[in-house]
């Protein structure tokens, strides 16, 4: 039977795995994993950057807005542009001024409405308010202005020609 050395007990001599050492290596491996995750997210940011450099600005076909001729001052009409899944709101702010915006709130895509008494576009979900002049955010959680629909007048008809983000 093997005898323990004078300095160490038998179990320490014979048992080669040391728990403190094992834990120590696990911390190092974990930190390596975290750094590799950080590298992955940095690569993700670079990928988005490269994609943005090669992104093609979309162009949209002009579309006549039906019902736009009979809107009174302070009244609105709803339409879809550029696709049926893009609801928009057209507002006559004065006798000769019409503005149109996407109706999707830039916070969580709730439908905004025109609050005539306040003269602004309001989102009922989280009380986000937008300026009717330029769609900028007046108050609330929306992070960006409302996309503006560019308009063109063709006689009595109003034509939507594009989207300004």
């Amino acid at each position: 039977m093997k005898r323990a050395s004078k300095e160490q007990p038998l179990w320490r001599d014979e048992f080669s795995v040391q728990s403190a050492t094992e834990k120590y290596v696990a911390r190092r491996q974990f930190s390596k994993f975290l750094v590799l995750t950080s590298l992955g997210m940095f690569i993700g940011n670079i990928w988005i950057l490269v994609r943005s450099w090669f992104a093609v600005k979309p162009s949209f076909a002009p579309q006549r807005i039906t019902g736009s001729a009979d809107i009174a001052v302070g009244e609105v009409t709803l339409f879809s542009y550029p696709t049926a899944e893009d609801p928009c709101i057209l507002i006559r702010t004065s006798a000769d001024t019409l503005v149109a915006y996407s109706q999707k709130c830039t916070h969580l895509s709730c439908a905004v409405y025109f609050a005539k008494e306040h003269g602004r576009l309001e989102c009922p979900c989280h009380e986000g308010y937008f300026s009717v002049k330029d769609g900028s955010v007046l108050q609330g959680p929306p992070p960006r202005p409302l996309p503006r629909i560019t308009l063109k007048r063709d006689g009595d008809a109003i034509i939507a020609t594009g989207v300004e983000i």
Binding site: T21, S31, L34, V35, T37, M41, N45, I48
Partner: protein, 78 residues
């Protein structure tokens, strides 16, 4: 440096790396949301900051390895 001191330093470095990772994760999701909504202005600054965070994480990892080598060289596990 003692073994206990070394482990404490490593634990602190790992905690710091984890915090930086959370920030970087938020940055990535915010950048993606901005890109998908058509706004490309914050993408370049976000990529630069993400790179800086990665360099900080790599620096902390080098620190962890150095502490590890230092403690091991003192042969404190006997």
């Amino acid at each position: 440096m003692t073994r206990r001191g070394g482990l404490t330093a490593i634990d602190g470095a790992i905690a710091l790396i984890a915090i930086l990772l959370v920030i970087q994760m938020w940055l990535l999701t915010a950048t993606l949301e901005s890109y998908l909504s058509g706004h490309s202005e914050p993408i370049l600054p976000a990529a630069i900051i993400s790179g800086a965070i990665f360099i900080a994480c790599a620096g902390l990892f080098v620190f962890v390895r150095r502490i590890d080598a230092d403690v091991r060289s003192k042969d404190l596990y006997r």
